[in-house]
Subunit: 199 residues, 2 copies
């Protein structure tokens, strides 16, 4: 519908996840009206990210050198590895400031529909990291959905015989949530995982 360059930009924006044709159009017109400098900075950020960013050779997290900041940090415990699906999950957990060990990013979860099996995930790399016996606990922090559960179960069975402590994050009611609106599976998990409080 538009002339060359505008339509090209709308098409390219429309390929991004979560950006439909209307949003792509809105963003393209925003950029048309914006300073040339703003558009240049975005174009540069895109180019830079592909040039500079790679994946940590140890844990698979995003990194700007061979190893990510967390793997390079000597203050972080090497005795605990938290296994997550994606690099985004590392950031989510870091934000809690609760965890001071290392991570391992699988690069997804087992998903037969998308044809993702255990061999497509960084499981071999995880086993290599566990070989020297320094790791005492592996925390399975997959997403609480079908694919995450399948991946966690697979890993738990594989790691079980290795004499490690294998744990999963607790399921339950989200803090600030409303019991009435919790789905029955979450509520069921909250019952299962109930804890003794008070004297």
């Amino acid at each position: 519908m538009y002339e060359g360059a505008v339509q090209d930009l709308i098409d390219e924006l429309g390929r991004l996840p979560g950006i439909g044709p209307k949003s792509a159009q809105r963003i393209a017109f925003h950029l048309l009206a914006a300073d040339a400098e703003d558009a240049r900075r975005l174009a540069e950020a895109l180019t830079e990210v592909k040039l500079k960013v790679r994946f940590c050779e140890i844990c698979g997290n995003v990194a700007e050198s061979e190893q990510c900041r967390i793997c390079q940090d000597p203050r972080r415990s090497v005795a605990v590895i938290c296994v997550v699906e994606e690099a985004k999950d590392v950031v989510a957990i870091e934000r809690t400031r609760e965890f001071r060990g290392k991570y391992h990013v699988l690069g997804g979860a087992i998903n037969p529909i998308d044809n993702v099996g255990p061999d497509d995930l960084r499981i071999k790399e995880l086993l290599t990291r566990l070989a020297d016996g320094a790791v005492q606990e592996v925390i399975l922090a997959m997403d609480p959905n079908v694919e995450g559960e399948a991946t966690a179960t697979y890993l738990a069975r594989m790691l079980g015989p290795m004499g490690l402590r294998v744990t999963r994050l607790a399921s339950g009611l989200p803090v600030g949530g409303d019991l009435e609106y919790a789905d029955e599976v979450t509520l069921g998990r909250a019952f299962e995982g109930r804890r003794v409080v008070g004297a």
Copy 2:
């Protein structure tokens, strides 16, 4: 939270309209995982759009030369000008294939809250186009909201004494909509604008 280049990209994406921090992160990770070629094409489209695209010197629509395709098209009537707020609106109207005249893009609507007055819109340019008497009808196709109504009223008063036919797009129930869910203003307009049907 992220290392340099990833965070830079998330920040730049987050400046775009309708992209919150979560979407920016999702898009950044999508691009990290995508082919370098995909990211390059998007960066190029961004750069190209700022280099190539300008605004038509006649109507203010987006154009890749001094005049837009519609102003250059000799098959389009010069007797009718459809006045719209934004270049996006031109595309929306073109999609209907109902209109074969020319356009005039105001570049916004009168909005005291955002400090947009008549002088900030391309109204002087519209009056210049009407000077030679070739135009017989001006269709006011502003958005059916407060700012659009204010702009249309302002233009109608200004154009009224010029001996032109000044029209507005019909307001009423959207096709495919549900009467029950129409707001009272729309329903009121639909009553006002009711038409005789049948024999």
